[in-house]
């Protein structure tokens, strides 16, 4: 928690009101195709990243196999959806994500029993192994996992929502609103959980498990309970994905999906509740929007992640919090000129990097025979000029940035140039 004192109950409600407004307004304003896809992906990723942070940020458990829980939830949801279609059962499709949550919970209880016996690096290794195990099993049991083709479903089989004609979840807008509602419920639920005694004790176990044991709590049990809670919400996220895409395949339990959740949570900042929300949005922006602009988006994402680990392990939320703190106490104004020029250098270096990466990428695909366009400027990858320009921008920007930073660190007191706050020491 930052040091600022709480400023009245209404202040705390503002972000919630803003969030609700966003969830309601966006599908209404945009109404078609790409924007709706972005909305759905964002909302689902928010749920998944927050559930992951129940483990990482709140309980100090680094897991590389979180997709097992969301994936099991997704499979449970799609099987139940198909069952509703076959047997015309009374279960409304809008509650299918809850079934996903229960599926995730079951997986969390079972696998968690095995994995929470250890902590730290060993726990991370076990989760990796379990994730690979489930992924490898997915081909062996086609009845549940559907083999290479996965399991498909149709979300309109449940009839009309609340009996309103035309509300059969077929259209993307209706599905988006359902996802938005569940997202809000999950965010509220996880926030509430972190305020309960269990949430607080989990923080204690994260910070000092030995002392928690001395006080009388079983660190192992606390971790297991938090894992079950986390897998429940992850299962809901998986159920939402199952309904949205109407197909669940082995990828839903795969290592790639686990890595995405880790990336999103960490980028946003594991030390804050809203960190994963921010990280999820940034991640989906990278994955869905940036991928339309450039094919090298995964490289940019990876580099961004590595830079964050090295320089800002508290994530974007922490960077933002520090800036806000400095703005509040006036020190930002003093640094403004220096920060401005440093940002300029970074931008220059970034442009140089982008230029080099895109040139290299284009050269690999040169058999396509297209000319390359970057921000409307036609560039020829065969000539040396763009390469030289890119390299100069990258090196120049980087070197000047380092020089400016060294100068600033010498000029200002230590406290302003302190290390980024991470949730681990």
């Amino acid at each position: 928690m930052s040091g600022a004192p709480p400023a009245g109950p209404l202040r705390g409600l503002a972000p919630w009101a803003g969030g609700v407004a966003l969830l309601v307004a966006v599908p209404a304003i945009f109404g078609h195709g790409f924007a709706l896809l972005l909305y759905a992906e964002c909302a689902i990723m928010v749920v998944l990243a927050l559930s992951y942070n129940l483990l990482l940020g709140a309980s100090g458990m680094l897991s590389f196999g979180h997709a097992v829980y969301s994936g099991c939830g997704a499979y449970a949801a799609i099987h139940v959806l198909n069952w509703i279609g076959r047997s015309h059962a009374a279960l409304p499709v809008t509650l299918v994500p809850l079934v996903g949550g229960l599926g995730g919970l079951l997986a969390g209880a079972t696998f968690g029993f095995l994995s929470t016996r250890r902590s730290g690096t060993a726990f991370a290794m076990i989760t990796l192994g379990l994730g690979e195990l489930v992924g490898a099993c997915s081909l062996m049991f086609p009845g549940f996992f559907g083999g290479e083709g996965g399991i498909s479903g149709n979300r309109t089989v449940g009839g009309n929502v609340f009996g309103v004609p035309g509300w059969n979840l077929g259209s993307d807008i209706q599905m988006d609103y359902l996802i938005g509602a569940w997202c809000l419920a999950c965010v509220a639920g996880m926030r509430a959980l972190l305020g309960t005694p269990l949430g607080r004790i989990a923080n204690a176990v994260r910070d000092n498990p030995e002392r928690a044991e001395f006080v009388g709590y079983s660190a192992r049990q606390v971790r297991w309970l938090m894992l079950m809670a986390s897998s429940f919400f992850a299962g809901i996220g998986g159920g939402l994905a199952a309904l949205n895409f109407e197909i669940v395949t082995a990828e839903n339990v795969g290592a790639l999906r686990s890595g995405e959740m880790l990336l999103a949570t960490f980028i946003g900042g594991a030390g804050y509740f809203h960190g994963p929300i921010l990280g999820a949005v940034v991640f989906v922006f990278f994955a869905v929007a940036l991928s339309q602009i450039t094919k090298a988006w995964q490289l940019y994402l990876g580099l961004f992640f590595v830079v964050l680990v090295l320089k800002a392990p508290g994530g974007l939320a922490d960077v933002a919090a520090r800036f806000l703190a400095q703005a509040r106490d006036g020190s930002l104004r003093r640094r403004a000129a220096g920060l401005g020029s440093m940002a300029g250098c970074l931008l220059l270096a970034l442009l140089g990097l982008i230029l080099l990466v895109e040139l290299t990428y284009h050269r690999t695909l040169e058999s396509e025979g297209e000319g390359m366009r970057l921000i409307g400027l036609g560039l020829d990858a065969a000539r040396p000029l763009p390469w030289v320009a890119g390299a100069t921008m990258l090196l120049g920007g980087g070197l000047v940035f380092r020089w400016l930073r060294r100068r600033e660190a010498q000029a200002l007191p230590r406290s302003y140039a302190g290390p980024s706050r991470a949730w681990w020491r």
Binding site: G33, F34, G147, G149, S152, E246, I247, T249
Partner: protein, 424 residues
């Protein structure tokens, strides 16, 4: 400016305007040229990348041909590639992106799992968005169910399905006296299981004396080392291998067989796909047979120009004639329907007949399965007569052994197709 110059300019301006007015009148009489875009959704990366890249080039080449030769006057065809990384989920995302870009035709062939997912996605989309339908041109996904129990109006299959191919292969094998012990190996997904089932049924019916000494399934596009499977084949003394493997799964299998000195004969569906000829090389001569809807060495084959032009442009072998047939059929259906609206075009495709480089093609109306002849070829040295074209610059190519007329490989169907109302 003198008066006469001004008057000249005025007259010139009037003349131009009149000409423009007449011109637009004339232009308005014909429909403005339309572009029909086809989304190509197949792997362009990973282990199956080389096959996908060859076939996307095939589609692009055929589209250029269609535009150059005006197969559908006033229509330009354009291929929009998407790399689905062989994943059904990714394919559905690509489908959504294509629909967002107002594309109404989808071409896919590598992997029945993907085809199934796309058919599901397209059916749901068409049902929920009447007026914005999408048609699926399946050029290589050959699970028979797609034109039997799971047939849909929006799906057209341009390749012979797996049961048809196995019918042809088992008829041929039944006549070979040196076949006694057969080993089956296939990819572990719907298609692989279909091949294995059809092989067992066909052999049991036509040559009950043949012993099936092995029956393996391996994960799709993941295995890089087939040496243990080959060791099993050796241990079982198999003299014949029947496999539906394609892409890297077949090329690496044949590589492992060559490394281990396996001399059995291979009967395959896809030994002509990218990567396999290089692995076979001289070692595969006399030992490998393939059944397909075409090979470039068919007697009196006028398809030579396709092979030569494609090689000149892409430095690669052309073997995806189904792309040619599909686009040809599509163009003819557009002309017949007089429109590019998918529902009308789909109805026009039903029952369409034309003559192509591999013989007479008919799009069967009952199940949208294309009926065409099949050819069994064996891997032989290039000799300019029976083998005019080699594959992948190996000096070896396919010699046509048997031509199976369409009737011989046409099978009945259980399709009960639900059709949308016929537009007027």
């Amino acid at each position: 400016m003198t008066g006469s110059t001004f008057a000249h300019r005025l007259v010139a301006l009037a003349a131009c305007s009149a000409a423009a007015a007449l011109g637009t009148q004339a232009a308005a009489a014909e429909p403005a040229p339309a572009t029909v875009r086809i989304a190509y959704i197949d792997p362009l990366s990973g282990l199956m990348g080389p096959v996908g890249n060859n076939l996307v080039h095939s589609w692009q080449y055929v589209a250029e041909l269609a535009n150059k030769e005006h197969w559908a006057p006033g229509i330009t065809f354009e291929i929009v590639p998407f790399d689905n990384k062989l994943s059904p989920q990714e394919s559905l995302n690509d489908l959504k992106a294509a629909i967002d870009q107002d594309i109404h035709y989808v071409a896919q062939g590598n992997g029945t799992s993907v085809a199934r997912a796309l058919i599901g996605g397209i059916s749901k989309h068409n049902e929920r968005n009447p007026g914005k339908e999408v048609v699926f041109l399946n050029y290589a996904a050959v699970d028979p169910d797609l034109t039997n129990g799971e047939c849909t109006f929006w799906h057209f299959r341009w390749d012979a399905n797996s049961d048809m191919k196995m019918e042809g292969l088992t008829n041929y094998i039944a006549k070979q006296k040196d076949v006694h012990k057969v080993y089956l190996i296939d990819q572990d997904y719907a298609f692989g299981h279909q091949v294995e089932r059809a092989a067992k049924e066909g052999l049991a019916k036509k040559r009950p004396d043949i012993e099936i000494v092995g029956d393996d399934f391996h994960p799709l596009a993941k295995v890089t080392d087939f040496s243990q499977y080959v060791a099993k084949m050796k241990a079982a003394n198999a003299d014949t291998i029947i496999t539906g493997n394609w892409g890297s799964d077949l090329s690496l299998l044949i590589k492992a067989a060559r490394d281990a000195g396996l001399t059995a004969n291979f009967y395959t569906y896809y030994a002509g796909t990218t990567g396999v000829p290089t692995q076979m090389g001289a070692a595969g001569a006399e030992h490998v047979r393939v059944i397909a809807y075409w090979n470039p060495n068919i007697d009196k084959n006028p398809g030579d120009n396709l092979v030569k032009e494609f090689k000149a442009k892409y430095d690669d072998d052309f073997y995806g004639l189904a792309a040619y047939n599909a686009l040809r059929g599509l163009a003819m259906a557009i002309v017949k329907a007089g429109s590019i609206e998918p529902v009308k075009v789909a109805y026009a495709l039903e029952g369409l007949k034309f003559h192509s480089y591999n013989g007479d093609i008919e799009v069967r109306a009952t199940d949208h399965q294309v009926e065409q002849p099949l050819y069994i070829a064996s891997w032989q040295k290039l000799d300019g007569k029976s083998v005019k074209f080699d594959q992948e610059k190996t000096g070896y190519g396919w010699r046509n052994e048997v031509t199976l007329p369409a009737e011989a490989v046409t099978l009945p169907t259980t399709c009960q197709m639900q059709r949308p109302p016929r537009p007027n």
